[in-house]
Amino acid sequence: MGRYLARRVLQFIPVFFGATLLIFVMVWVIPGDPIRALGGDRRLSESVVQAMRAQFNLDDPLFIQYFKYIGGVFRGDFGTDFSGRPVLDLMQQRLPVTIRLALLAFVFEVIIGIIAGIVAGIRKGGFLDNLVLTSTLVVIAIPIFVLGFVAQIVFGVQLGWFPVSGIRQGWTSYLLPAIVLGSLSLAYIARLTRASLAENLRADYVRTATAKGLSRRRVVGVHTLRNSMIPVVTFLAIDLGGLMGGAIITETIFNIPGLGRAVFEGVQGQEGTVVVGIVTFLVIVYMVANLLVDVLYAVLDPRIRYE
């Protein structure tokens, strides 16, 4: 286990620096003047350009620039927007909203997804199985922003069951956005649980358990489910990172003032540094989630450690 962990963490280091370097290079070293590109259509005065060149160390050689930048990221310095406000401030203000939304989406997708998967997997080929397969396929195929708007029109505007947008009404205003945000992962979780359960139900140890005379409930509920949950749990861990990114579209639709909405506002207001700062942060969250998944997988499934 120790060896596996060490190897996995060692592999993470080059990926971390590689991915951040890639983003860095794409933003700062592309042809043309990056400062003016980040400013969008804004006419930047010469003094602002000079100040920003100094702030982002653009007169240094590339690698020095990168290390100064990544050092800043470690200290929580993601640069400032064009009015001089640190991006970190904005992130601290917006992050709790996104975390609340992502957690709610997470709870929703886990509960419904796993139940749907179990119901489908126990009777493969039955009516419920086909229902789950078809409905998840539809959810996977409809782009999340179409789904979001349709949900907003139907459940928010026409039926009036949920607040239409914003977060004025406390936690109820998070419900509909969370359902939309979690729906895609819900479909994956249901399918993953179903496939894994159906496969494990054919395993020898299940036949043994049944032959011993255990009740069906105990065979499925304890013996099979525990093993079937391994791939699902690892998906869940990686998904938590994915939800943070997926929130960009959901928050934009429902006007939820989280990190994702801040990215959208950054794009609209041509605040390039805000966009780059938050996206860098989200990519780091995603990478760390990936690392945790691999570790978790090794904890849950001993076979992985001995490859």
């Binding site: 990926v15 794409m26 539809v138 922003f145 791939p231 579209i249 934009t252 794009v267 996206v279 990936n290």
Partner: protein, 314 residues
């Protein structure tokens, strides 16, 4: 090596696909002596599948719309009359009109071209990159494999939408080419991992040893023996990718970093519609419907292909 991206993704083909080369036995009973190739079996099976026929029909329809929009509408989508602003659907304007008074049916029809061409263009190039480098990595192994695998790991760490926002946000002019370029740049890693693992298992086959023993050159072994036998999961995944990319393009356009006006694209139309979902929901409905149906067809087609090409999953 563990591979969370592919492993956890149930719709993608399992990375450890082996036995693609062997004639599937068991459930598929060859009806004649020569019926044996995976593709022939798959085709025979697909022809009878209603889901495959429906999705294939829809895809053909969308491609025809994309190539010859004039067959479906003779109205110029840019011939707009402000006095017709925001009309509801009627006999004259089937899908109503938008804020500028343009005919929405014509706009929706003309929007197909951009979506379909970006989806197919990106998938072709990303698949080509994946096939070339994935088969090199899988076949030769060793140092080349390590280098390619590490570079893939790094690119894989950047999610498509997040990376797309950062890069595209810096482009002043964003047309089909720019958006496609960025999506290719971010889209190849998953595919490459798939090709690599597929080639790795095909490499172990006896006929590859036989070819090598006969003194056939490596490049020819890859081209003639390994690739044809490891392409099945790649084709399945590529089909699904077309749908995923179309959806990604629309999402980026919706967020304001994809295509720009005056391009006609479903993502842009939905983006324009979002402020009027109460007063003019038809502006959202029609492009959303076309977009969903297109993405749905490609994903459904991928599903059907996987069922046909990978008999073990049945």
């Amino acid at each position: 090596m563990s591979d969370p991206g592919i492993r956890s993704d149930e719709i993608a083909v399992e990375p450890d696909v082996d036995g693609e080369a062997v004639v599937p036995d068991g459930e598929l009973e060859p009806t004649s002596e020569r019926a044996g190739s995976l593709w022939a079996d798959a085709w025979r099976q697909l022809r009878r599948k209603p889901l495959f026929l429906i999705s294939a029909g829809l895809i053909v329809l969308m491609v025809v719309i994309a190539i010859w929009p004039g067959l479906f509408t003779s109205v110029d989508p840019r011939d707009c009359r402000l006095e017709n602003s925001l009309l509801r659907p009627s006999a004259e304007h089937w899908f109503g009109t938008d804020l500028q008074g343009c005919d929405y049916y014509a706009l929706t029809i003309h929007g197909a071209r951009v979506s379909i061409s970006i989806g197919i263009l990106v998938t072709i190039f990303a698949t080509l990159i994946a096939i070339v480098f994935g088969s090199i990595a899988g076949y030769y192994g060793g140092v080349i494999d390590s280098i390619i695998a590490r570079i893939t790991d790094i690119w894989f760490a950047i999610p498509v939408i997040l990376g797309g926002i950062v890069i595209l946000n810096l482009f002043r002019q964003r047309g089909v080419l720019q958006v496609s370029f960025v999506l290719i740049l971010l889209g190849w890693p998953t595919m490459l991992r798939l090709v690599r693992s597929s080639v790795l298992s095909a490499k172990e086959m006896d006929y590859v040893d036989a070819a090598r023993a006969l003194g056939i050159k490596n490049a020819r072994i890859i081209r003639r023996h390994i690739l044809p036998n490891s392409l099945a999961p790649v084709i399945v995944y590529a089909t699904i990718t077309v749908g995923v990319i179309i959806s990604a393009e629309a999402a980026l356009s919706f967020l304001g970093v994809g295509l720009q006006l005056p391009s006609i694209s479903w993502g842009l139309m939905i983006s324009e519609a979002q402020n009027r979902i109460r007063s003019a929901p038809h502006l959202l409905l029609f492009p959303g419907l076309f977009l969903s149906v297109t993405v749905f067809s490609f994903i459904l087609m991928g599903d059907a292909l996987r069922d046909a090409l990978d008999p073990r999953l049945r």
